[in-house]
Subunit: 480 residues, 4 copies
């Protein structure tokens, strides 16, 4: 969606200290229960967007849609009228991470639009970097926007296209936009999937019987018992219809720059992306981290849940025992109760508690996936000390996060990123740890199976660590 | 609550294959934000009851109450009018696991009753075994019941008591009931806590500044930064008022028979009960299990989340690597979507997914806390095989569950308990594992630090494994 | 319900200036759609209580119930699960006018209680004057109350009764209470109806095929196509079962003192009570008023809707044209919007508007049913003047309301009743009319077909006009 | 809104037998409580649309909006956050009568659109007859529609206009549409009101202090204490800003053809439209009807509420007494409960009941405003007979309704209109009356103060009675 840096939810304790993926997409063609399978797929992809969800289906005669605030399970419950009304053999769905609150129902995807040639439905994970410029131009010439999303720019470009064929219209529209996108779309009786020329955001293809599936991650195939076929390629558009699947290139394929943060934090550990197990990647990062920055200690303790695989890898590499020194309460305390007198309680305490009997009197290595603003790290370190830890050594399974993302991830502005402002030594002092280390950028690439990062043409998009953005809008000063 | 064996939610996929604790209690006296601290404490105890929650507070002038269906965080949100209206310096709260659905708001605790001597509030974890007999007798002599709970029997006995003092009335009432109870109560400006003569259900005492806290588990102290003082003793009643804390015995103390299943499954791993870390107890059970029943394999895989500590203990003892071969999706899919064609999908798939890249081609040891009906185990084993596991060896961190509980745990009838009907070999075939082993009853006691189970006077209540019930109503044939 | 003078909703603009009936009751035995017919009957009786509604039915095996805040049509909609779940051949229902707001769901009737002998359901229109004394005594001896209603006193007396037969128990209970009551009850497979010894509140008997119906007014018979049989008599209890209808006296019948205000305002104009058409009674009052207090004018204008029949009678008697000089907006403006600058707008304006083209330049006679606090009258007179009326003469179709009711009507305390504080001349000045006249008490009795009021034994309860209360609790100083 | 003849809600008992106005509009400029006054104005205009309501305001900096299903009082309650968030000095509002159900929130007006030149808000009462043709053309050239309303056509024409000035853009847009419209709009800091060239739908201008008000009817001025200034003229556009009010012609003014049905049924009786009191017009129609078609009888009985003024006029002209022989229950029974056995009950019974004591044994003249499908008339006549009426003579205060409306009124298709299919004699037999008469078309014009209808250029739009449509789209065969 269109990035609105001023709108970042700084006051929301829940989100303020991790990067947030902004979307999941799912699509299926050729199963009479496409709507049910889409609901399951979206449920499996819930971690990529928890604020809202939507589905559009086509039953051969009419398009059906539903959009709702909240989780998939709250909106699409088994046997519900909502779900039954979505019956169809083609469906696409979307989970959204929203920055703007309840009344922005108009921004929930998929979008369904009646065009001259018929209905057109689309859902998008990613972010376009030239959306504002295109939008201004479209509005000046009479287009009316109904949402604040960058996705709607694509829709108007499709409506304005002079191509006759819907697929040609979408191709023409995409040739005008830059940025990151993994799209699923339904037009006529076709399911379309597209990935941007750099393949920044993931999109995979699967099959269940005769039905084809498109999804952000492979875990959405597992839940419906579908088989993984392959990743959609950068710049590839697949068009799935009753005649099977066809592949086009929407432009010259550029070098792949897949988002490395998908491995570090966004994707589910049981997914495989670009041929690599996310769980194994995280364990390997933990192992590299142990090689680079180990220290004598009694226990390796993960910050749950995202730090667990890296901590396991660290423990196996270092030989230091892995223990659950922090217990996570998975029940949601939607808003944070702050008693004035009970000074120690904090938002972190609603989710985490020290396992005091285990950490008391011990030297511990705390493993987390990343540090964004640093506020959570400080609270976790404090919690460990109050539980009696003798020393707390923080080890981070990613390089310092120093730059915002412009490709579909909700990041704070640069001056809110702790690593953009402080040295590692200063960060260590700020979070109150006894020592602090990050994996090196080359260590990270080694964990990915590369010899090292190729500085001339990096194998991944790592702009959040390096500031080297793979796609820049040269004529427009948003990024430069 | 009063057990209704016929009402067991057999059709509810979510609950059908684990034992369910039926309640949490929390109470605090002497903090002007008692209501906020109670909401936090109940949030920390959410795992003991997720269906409904309630709070009663006293502000020196009037009693306030609220009861609601759903989680603590849904009912008591920070800054809400609901929570503000509960302001007081004394409060008790309750989380309920309900078997009977939405329209049973009348069964949500705490109960608040206007008696001749003033208001009387009470919340209860446990189950009385002579409640039906007492209820019949009370109804026949003109008492009107408003709920179907056993707790209300206590309330009527208090109302009928000829003692003048509310504390005396409650004592007299409790001398007439048998079974398991951990109670918190507010009467006048006093907070009362009581535990049954065998101490079957837990109740602990803590302190925050000058305020005293009663709670089912120590994790409720941690979230508010309170200090653990001690467990309330079997048959002990503590009365907390502005004059401090006083302790009484409500009857002769009987031998302690604390519920051993609290260590196996119910309690949070970061709690300590009766002087023992729950996490460490689970790890020790896993270690004993490895000593008793190890087998050569590539990986130790926990069934998340409850099997994790035992699996860690097993892995450390056996030297076989611990890996997250199953990934849990913590987002709730409230009802289970069952597409007819996608045969593999099941309720289990809404919560768990195999980490295929890790388990494919491996011999794995799967560690779970218990087997109740066996339906989940079968699905998990199948999931492992379909993910490519070469062999699946199931190891259970408790003895076979062969008998229902009558002390406040929601168990199926005996003929629904897999271990009551089948031999271990038959169970292994039924769940489709390559091998199956349970820890022995003596192994379990060894993990608890005992030399062995004392057959004449067992150190714990282990009736669900042995059928030896510590409290029986002789004149009433409910159990016998 | 138990009168709580301190709780009167003085700040609620909607209610502050008319007397409010507090309840409707309905019951039916012997129709397989008893639940549907009860919903229709309650809808026809909606004017007697708009805050909440409830139903209890019995289907031969079990009792079903539902209670809800709001109108009948909001709670019992055709084809709804709520209504289907109430299926039975016996049902009773209740509409409630509540003074205490949303969280008092516990006060919504009918009440359903499990007693030693079985289930007992009851619904009540009226008010008991010795309820507080009885309640205190019951609580002191161990009864627990769940509501703040006087009706619950009857329930506990039934539970305490030593009679074996439920009918005998209810009779014994009612012999202990004083005041006004029209009751419907279901016990075993019987429908019971009772009226207090003075017959203050109405209860009528009807028949539809083989089914018997009890209702507060005959309009509830019309909506289901049932036939009116007769009024239940003072002190009469009818017991309806599969064996037909049986009549008992619960005590010596006292002289009938039917509430005369039912004719003036409470009942629907299309009902007949005690053999008299309510519409005709109102027209006759208007006619008597014209005989007693006519004045030369251009138009007779009713204050809608309650003043319409009296205004018609007045116009026919006086020969002055009847015109709709005030138009009522029947859409509910639930709360009153008060712009600071638009000084003329008031709560009255949400419901009424002057028909300016009709009243401008005219001498008008404004006819209303009663004056309670006088605030509405003042606003209506002002509205007429601002619409251009030359003169406004107020004529009231009841004597001055000088005393509160203790028999089930929500009246302000005496010092809030305008006629209790001011002379008629002062009232006229206060409301700003050119003249003001009330019908005389004897004129009112003449309109009822009596020669005059019998001062020794009045033919009706007219305590709100005369202060002569037919039932007084001598040993208890609530009224005296 | 765009007429969808196929979508008429035939199955909805509530609407099937009267014509339904489809909208109310309200606008105000120059009062700091514009939002509160708009809520009051919409409440007064509730009778013109009950399904949904909306408001857009401008506070000098930003536009605020809210749209909701249901009545004004349900959506805009005093002191609510919804209402407070709408604070502004300019506001427009809309009540909608919807034919398409809950999920059509996108069709609720006012519409607020961000255009190149700024925000543009609009609300519309009426119907455009060339909307479908314009819409098709706009869609084919790249415009995306978000609703199914004809109003959105105007919005796209404004967006496409090459005029610089928003007022010029709106004028240019309106010059392309044909049909009936009364519009209010906010653009920049201006309130705009427009009426179509024939002035078919009403729009009036009022003033409160310095603030100007636009509304569908004068009753919306009364509720806020505003003064009526004049009707907006056919083809007139008024632009109200901080510089006062300016008037333009958007095209050559055509002969006025105001909708005569506004007087017969739609408008509130306390409104004045085009210089004529609605109440007086209805009384005069009743008087003419008595002159044309009187018959000897005992009573004149109105079908409430819409038949009351005509019945009064009839009674005054004929000298036959006016009596409330039918009583209306104003409480809403949202859906119609149909017990199978109680055959007499019907949807009509939920709203109306015979006043049996008055009509039994009498010859009655029943006066209603119109007959659409005739189903209600049949039920009302049956109800009168079952209540004992000796004879029932139906008199209708409009000519036979033989043609659908294309100017914003929801009418059934021609073959559902009883008068389009049957002779008056056949209609009389069908509804079961003893006699039936309608006012003649010339009698109707006489009641309007005309000598007779001018057949060459009728003074009103009376197409529903005559089939002579004042605006026809010649190049498009929708109507012809």
């Amino acid at each position: 969606m269109m990035k609105r840096l001023a709108d970042l939810p700084e006051s929301d304790g829940h989100n303020q200290d991790s990067l947030q993926e902004e979307c999941a997409v799912f699509g299926i063609y050729g199963n009479s229960e496409a709507h049910l399978l889409t609901a399951l797929g979206l449920h499996a992809l819930q971690h990529r967007g928890q604020e809202a969800t939507g589905m559009v289906s086509f039953d051969g005669e009419k398009f059906n849609y539903f959009k709702g605030i909240g989780h998939v399970g709250e909106n699409f419950s088994a046997g519900s009228k909502t779900l039954n009304d979505l019956k169809g053999h083609v469906a696409i769905g979307h989970n959204r991470y929203s920055t703007t609150g309840l009344n922005e129902v108009r921004n929930i995807q998929p979008f369904l639009t009646e065009m001259g040639f018929g209905n057109f439905a689309i859902a998008h994970n990613g972010n376009l970097i030239n959306a504002e410029r295109l939008r201004t131009s479209l509005v000046e010439t009479g287009s009316l926007f109904q949402s604040t999303t960058d996705t709607e720019v694509i829709i108007h470009l499709v409506a304005r296209s002079h191509q006759n064929d819907p697929v040609g219209r979408l191709t023409e529209a995409l040739q005008q936009v830059s940025g990151a996108y993994a799209l699923v779309s339904v037009v006529d009786d076709q399911l379309i999937g597209v990935r941007d020329p750099n393949g920044i955001r993931p999109l995979i293809l699967g099959k269940l019987g005769d039905a084809y599936i498109l999804a952000s991650e492979t875990c959405a195939l597992d839940i419906i018992g579908a088989k993984f076929i392959r990743d959609i390629e950068p710049a590839e558009m697949v068009v799935i219809s009753k005649d099977g699947i066809k592949s086009h290139k929407i432009s010259t394929k550029k070098p792949s720059r897949f988002c490395i943060f998908e491995y570090i934090y966004f994707a589910r550990p049981d997914s495989s992306l670009e041929g690599r197990s996310v769980y194994q990647a995280r364990k390997d990062i933990g192992g590299e981290l142990a090689k680079e920055a180990n220290i004598a200690a009694d226990l390796v303790v993960p910050v749950p849940d995202s730090g667990v695989p890296a901590a396991l890898g660290y423990a196996q590499q270092s030989g230091i025992p892995f223990e659950l020194g922090i217990i996570r309460n998975h029940y949601v305390g939607r808003t944070f109760i702050q008693p004035t007198e009970a000074g120690r309680t904090s938002g972190v305490m609603m989710k985490h508690n020290a396992n005091s009997e285990i950490v008391a009197g011990k030297d511990i290595i705390l493993v987390d996936d990343s540090i964004v603003r640093g506020t959570t790290s400080r609270k976790i370190v404090t919690m460990m000390r109050e539980a009696g830890a003798k020393s707390v050594h923080m080890r981070i399974a990613s390089p310092p996060t120093t730059n915002p993302c412009f490709y579909g991830v909700d990041t704070p502005e640069k001056d809110k990123l702790m690593a953009a402002k402080l040295t590692i030594k200063e960060m260590c002092a700020e979070i109150g740890a006894d020592s602090l280390a990050f994996i090196s950028i080359d260590g990270l690439y080694r964990a990915m199976g590369e010899k090292a990062r190729n500085p001339d043409l990096p194998q991944f998009c790592d702009a959040c660590f390096t500031g080297e953005y793979p796609v820049i809008e040269t004529s427009y000063n948003k990024i430069a």
